[in-house]
């Protein structure tokens, strides 16, 4: 029977989950990002979300969201090109542009959508996308959708990148694409060098700063701040759903590109606008970052260092992370889920990564301690990890 054949093709392989006796995916939260969060009626320490600055449940941010709902309602029920574009949208767009120090920006419902929507507008089969092999799925799917030539380079390997750039002259345009902070490892791309190489070879750099914005750089402005890049000639994208504690995705860069996307990017033009509450939330978070970044960042750094030191001292193998992420090399998919299960049993919510999120037969467990957690909570985390090692 035809229907049966079709539906029979979609069988999920649960083997590793069954062997581990634990499925860490799609946990059902019964609270917001509090300290603790509640799952299945039990208290958990949230080391899983990307709530770096701890602002997702901040009273000031929630109030900004509530006020926006009062004024605009839940949604404008239209795409930005139609009637979904408000003065609030316009203002947040401008504030983000100034925050980043770029010419112009546009906001998509998510960064996944932004990354997917970007490349199929700007690249065609005459072009080449040179991409760090560890880049996020949204970038990879984005360039695949554009039909261009794809050449991955070894992770953060500038010699390899230059070798490809040297041969890219036959294409109409070369693009060099990378994440700023690699989300499973916590390492940072040598972005200044990438931009210099792009300048030398006439390539356009594209950086996804989803895990950098609000986290790295002297002023928390992300990769351009961190790498001290002024007059950036490339394209910048980031999620507004991590440190910025709301949702949405931004693309920033030269005004002509942003204006072009406004009319030609189908992922933007044909998708309902970001909701007012999220826009107002981002606006408030920007204000808080500008006033309080030093204080907030010293807190999440302290937490990160404490967790990393405890894990190292108790024999875990940690990646070389230079940001607020602590990532454990956790072995095979089964070992990874077993470790995450142990943490879960002790009341710690973590993010385990197995293939295809990381390379085949490798595993990582990512821990991010947001600045909303208390010192006491982090001491408890240290105690749990120490006890587990004994």
């Amino acid at each position: 029977m035809k229907y049966k054949d079709f539906y029979d093709r979609f069988k999920i392989d649960y083997e590793v989950v069954e062997n581990a006796g634990f499925n860490p995916y799609y946990p059902i939260l019964e609270s917001g990002l509090d300290d603790p969060v509640i799952i299945d009626g039990k208290k958990f320490i949230d080391l899983a979300s990307n709530n770096y600055l701890g602002l997702a449940n901040d009273p000031r941010v929630k109030e900004a969201g509530r006020n926006a709902i009062q004024k605009y309602g839940m949604s404008l029920c239209a795409t930005p090109v139609a009637s979904g574009y408000s003065e609030l949208y316009q203002r947040v767009r401008e504030k983000l542009t100034i925050f980043l120090g770029l010419e112009s920006s546009i906001l998509y419902p998510s960064c996944y959508q932004a990354n997917n929507g970007l490349f199929n507008v700007l690249l065609g089969k005459e072009d080449i996308a040179i991409i760090d092999r560890s880049s996020h799925s949204s970038l990879i799917e984005g360039i695949r959708g554009s039909g261009c030539k794809i050449r991955p380079f070894l992770h953060n390997d500038m010699d390899y990148l230059e070798k490809i750039l040297k041969k890219a002259g036959k294409y109409r345009q070369a693009f060099v694409i990378t994440e700023s902070v690699f989300s499973t490892e916590g390492d940072i791309a040598p972005f200044h060098e990438i931009v210099d190489l792009c300048d030398n070879y006439g390539a356009v750099p594209v950086v996804d700063d989803s895990h950098g914005i609000g986290v790295i750089g002297k002023h928390g402005k992300g990769i351009l701040d961190h790498a001290q890049i002024e007059d950036y000639n490339g394209i910048y994208t980031a999620s507004l759903g991590k440190a910025l504690a709301n949702s949405g995705g931004i693309i920033s860069g030269k005004r002509c590109i942003i204006d072009y996307l406004k009319y030609y990017s189908s992922h933007l033009v044909y998708s309902t606008s970001l909701i007012p509450a999220a826009l107002a939330g981002v606006e408030k978070v920007l204000e808080i970052i500008q006033k309080e970044f030093d204080e907030i960042s010293s807190k999440f750094w302290r937490f990160k260092n404490q967790i990393t030191n405890t894990l190292t001292n108790t024999g875990y193998e940690i990646t070389n992370s230079s940001t607020a992420i602590t990532s454990i090399r956790s072995g095979s998919p089964l070992q990874t889920l077993m470790t995450a299960k142990t943490f879960y049993r002790e009341g710690i919510l973590s993010t385990p990564f197995i293939y295809p999120s990381v390379q085949f037969n490798e595993g990582r467990i990512r821990l991010i301690a947001g600045a909303n957690l208390s010192e006491k909570t982090i001491d408890k985390v240290s105690e749990i990890f120490t006890n587990l090692a004994q």
Binding site: R151, P152, Q359, F360, N361
Partner: protein, 80 residues
């Protein structure tokens, strides 16, 4: 350098694998190579030999030996 040796050298430059590489090794299951790893290896071989292998052709490459055979099919015959 023979095609076999060349493929192994290029593979080593493109993947994170210090162990032995045998012709019968499965690219993913034995050597842990993902689709980008295969693409990078093929791209480097293209540069090396000055040929172009269409991306659509990559799907059938399962083992190290598949890469060698695919290359040998594409390279001009060198001796009789």
């Amino acid at each position: 350098m023979k095609t076999k040796e060349k493929v192994i050298t290029v593979l080593r430059e493109n993947i994170d694998w210090d162990g032995e590489i045998k012709m019968e090794h499965h690219l993913r299951n034995d050597l842990g190579i993902d689709s980008f790893g295969i693409l990078m290896t093929i791209n480097s071989l293209e540069d090396e030999y000055g040929i172009e292998i269409q991306d659509a052709d990559l799907d059938g490459l399962k083992t190290v030996s598949d890469i060698v055979l695919r290359l040998e099919e594409m390279l001009p015959v060198q001796n009789f």
